[in-house]
Symmetry: C2
Subunit: 396 residues, 2 copies
Amino acid sequence: MTLSTPGPTLGVVGGGQLGRMLAEAAAPLGIEVVVTDPTPDPPAGPVARDALTGDFDDEATIRGLAERSDYLTFEIELADPDALERVSEETGTPVHPKPDTLRLIQDKLVQKRELAEAGVPVPEFRRVDSEADLRGACEELGYPAMVKARRGGYDGRGNVPVESPDDVAEAFAEIVDTAQGATPEDPEGVAMVEEMVDFDREVAIMGCLGDGKQDAFPVTETIHREEILREMVAPARVGEAVRERAREVALDVLDVVEGRGVYGIELFQHGDEVLLNEIAPRPHNSGHWTIEGCHTSQFEQHARAVTGRPLGTTEQRAPTALANLLGDVAERQEATMSGEQAIFEADRAHLHWYGKREVYRLRKMGHVTLVGEPDADRDELVEAVGALRDGTTFQN
Amino acid sequence: MTLSTPGPTLGVVGGGQLGRMLAEAAAPLGIEVVVTDPTPDPPAGPVARDALTGDFDDEATIRGLAERSDYLTFEIELADPDALERVSEETGTPVHPKPDTLRLIQDKLVQKRELAEAGVPVPEFRRVDSEADLRGACEELGYPAMVKARRGGYDGRGNVPVESPDDVAEAFAEIVDTAQGATPEDPEGVAMVEEMVDFDREVAIMGCLGDGKQDAFPVTETIHREEILREMVAPARVGEAVRERAREVALDVLDVVEGRGVYGIELFQHGDEVLLNEIAPRPHNSGHWTIEGCHTSQFEQHARAVTGRPLGTTEQRAPTALANLLGDVAERQEATMSGEQAIFEADRAHLHWYGKREVYRLRKMGHVTLVGEPDADRDELVEAVGALRDGTTFQN
């Protein structure tokens, strides 16, 4: 290859914070980023070459993007695989990851089935098409269980715990209510249920699929509350056996998926075992710590992979913790965050503001990363970054 | 302060690579960057909110910039201090560093005088307004000496060595020819001459002036050929005494200059002594290694300082070497660089492409940074990064 100006253009479906951080990472490599988003001037807008406005499944918008781009990718699972596939074929613009893989991942039931068949360890799960199915499955799997919308859920939305037989009817109705395209009269195909995994920790690993090369970043420990990722620390506070097992699983996942790019792989850890929770065919919140924590960030890695450049090293630089800056307001409103001064004043703390105009409860508005000394105590690091986050608020 | 969207806008006079890297660093802090440059779609264009087109001294352009900005700064000394001062007063938009300091630095003679008066060690120098002045000064200072245009020189342009009395006439004529606003008939005020310093090394230190706080990044060793910066390594291969002395000099320089920001301070080192060569009131090539080599980059530091945010730590993360990617072609032409594959393949190597459409001999087109292990041999690090650079070419 060669480098010139303008360099290759990477067209990204989605212009949220992932698109923004992708654009920040692509620029030094001479890669220009154009995004599409339903929201005019989305978070990626200020640092992208251009932001087109259109729905994630609007084929004309995606065609417009492809016509300006040398490579296509997406930063949100709501991207339409059919539209991407057609546009890619029509315009000859390669798309990575492959639309088939996006399709596979969009349906959590199909995702689990394919991964299980490939030997990836997954929790026990069942397809459930009715309240009766759910009741039967819960009796097999035991209570509590987790009923999930097969499509469209994220950040905990579309997941409902079923604690006892008394919860079954309400939980199923709630999933049908939140699932895309479902009606109470015809709920077939909308839901699945999984055993509730009794995990020690949740961990995540970013898999990297290059041109004939597989790799993975170090395992991250992810700390959720209300099913929202709050803090993370890398390396995870797990032993060598778990780290190796997680890496094996990541490489197995990369055998199943198609198309170059970075894949977020969320796992449950119990003892020395890990079980796959979910995968995302894109950079993922659990990999944000790599911006300062690794030599290559997950965003640079994704830009490299999708544009056919060699993968960078996944070597970690230092123990790193991260806390998400989440909306702490009851009502949707213009976003003004105070308390950021302490983040600016803390040595080795790094602010990442996502550029969203409005905040609502638990919306991801930014994050703060804290890089530790080589021998840093990871408990203290998580506590310290949490304290920086706790000093901020969107309340007036 | 608070954070919101859109965040503060930083207006930057100049949209070259420094503006580009400033925009890359400002985005995560929620700071939007707008630049002005005489060239449409300059290097900073793809990652800035907007790029206005206009000359560096065009007051209407600077006013347009100020009207969109909360803070003004500049990334090139060709910015017009008078225009900046007037526009800042008219619009109430603060400008940092202060136009008075820009004015001081623009005239190398005035710069040296003020710094010498403040106790900063400088080479012996004389004002020279005629060939006869130059001849007299060289006899006092000894041959060889360096005659310099007082204004407008950079990257070695505007500096001419005077090896012997035979060179005096030609050297003076050359300086008058290259100096801004000078004519052979009226050369008064255009030139100065300095003793040629017999240095062991050239080193540089980035001074940081925050709101009531002074700091400096670790000392960098800079390696020039044909008066162009080729490679650098940090920390410099000098002893503790030199590092301390350089830091003292940097803090003394920060006492002289006015206005928040990062200042590039170039020094000659001889034994345990350092002498000031030149200062630049902005991020500087010799500080590019901080992007990966420090927790806070010089660009983030400048963005923090100018917008009144606290300075970040100047702590170094690892030994770091850097090589500039310079034009190696004889004629000005469209830029296409080959050989970058090895940079992508090298672990811990980081490419920075500046997004310039045309290349000419010795034009700065990008750089490559190589981060070493904590105990890295710095000779080897410089050699390795030089080899990566040597593998690239703009020749077809």
